[in-house]
Symmetry: C2
Subunit: 261 residues, 2 copies
Amino acid sequence: MNNTSPSDGPTTKAKATAAVVIIGEEILSGRTQDTNLGTIARFLGDIGIPVKEARVVGDVTEEIAEAVNTLRARYTYVFTTGGIGPTHDDITADSIGFAFGVPVEHHPEALAILDAHYRPGEFNEARRRMARVPKGGTLIDNPISKAPGFQIGNVFVMAGIPRVMAAMLVSLRPRLTGGAPLLSHTLSVFAGEGTIASTLSDAQAAYPDVAMGSYPFYRQERYGTSLVLRTDSPERLQEAAGDLARRLSGIGITPVDGEIR
Amino acid sequence: MNNTSPSDGPTTKAKATAAVVIIGEEILSGRTQDTNLGTIARFLGDIGIPVKEARVVGDVTEEIAEAVNTLRARYTYVFTTGGIGPTHDDITADSIGFAFGVPVEHHPEALAILDAHYRPGEFNEARRRMARVPKGGTLIDNPISKAPGFQIGNVFVMAGIPRVMAAMLVSLRPRLTGGAPLLSHTLSVFAGEGTIASTLSDAQAAYPDVAMGSYPFYRQERYGTSLVLRTDSPERLQEAAGDLARRLSGIGITPVDGEIR
């Protein structure tokens, strides 16, 4: 079980869930490849907060607000990325204010942070836009480029630039209550999905509490399948992985522990 | 204007729009980095069909159906990726059938394609699952690995494996009616967003029909901003780019044509 993730999170089994809203025309146009969803998902997964849904929306207030309002009612936490810079197409703060029905105001602490950061004359009206926060919001520290994100209710509003976003996740971590982290174990086989499908299905039926997924790959010039088992119970994970390995051996397929790269 | 995309699409200005539904726990968990959204967005953008929204959902029938039903009512076309393989966690065909309220059946043509593809004895019950299509659906050719996608109504159901998905896009292209392709022109400056924000805002106000976006970058060990102008009119694009370049020169900033890499 050497590729089992460590269980270093809280041991309470709170069923916290999350959703992600990626904001920006540049993602929808294919100009920019989003990587923030994966970063957020892995960060939250490690503390037992599975991401259940994500949406990518353009720079349109009503669409941002609709996504945020739908998701904040449905999941424990919502994380947004993008649209909090100083230019006219940065409309996330206003859109979140619209979603919550509150005015957006210059936040005194954010103004102070930015005023201290910029050289004299640089802190112009455009940059002051980055201190605008919906009323009632609290700041999320940005150790990289200073302009803060903010939290309002269960919604965390972060930058779109990946390394700034990642730093904000660390900043806001203490505000999240996680559950038992989801553990995973991967078995890989050099066999097509269609060859192992019924065996996998039988194992899934025997362990209904362990989610089993099947992902085809092409590596070392051969086709194969990664079988990924997921549960928050280390014991059940080990039992299910052993059961699946025995079943595969029974049809003449020897699984490799972990990913084949 | 050497970085303007060629205008080789149809010249009618149909306002076709699209949405994308990415299906799969592996994307939501951060195990797999999605690249299909960008591929679809660029493919459709080139034929004048902008992607307006995307959703990422897990392997849950009701969630897939809700996303598809919401988006197919709102946009001209919906494209899904993932979940059409042979294993138990491949539930896209059933979920689309559920969304449309129609039964899912083995499609005779799909059965014939797969039967001809596999060697004797290989075309087992699991692989026959890949021939299941919601009643009324038509096949989308898969020249890579044979198992077809399908179209039902305005919904196109494709594989999750990127090169198979890309091949399916080419297969289904004749079924799409595009509009005037969105053209873009990029000006790059070694200046922060906050420095050029008011200039950009002025240019945007002068050319309200040309969408202007601002994207910070860090290259050649310097911070800068890419200013992207988008419209389907080559004339307006050229005029707006010239106007913005003059305004930037006016504040002492010399823009570079195109992306700085």
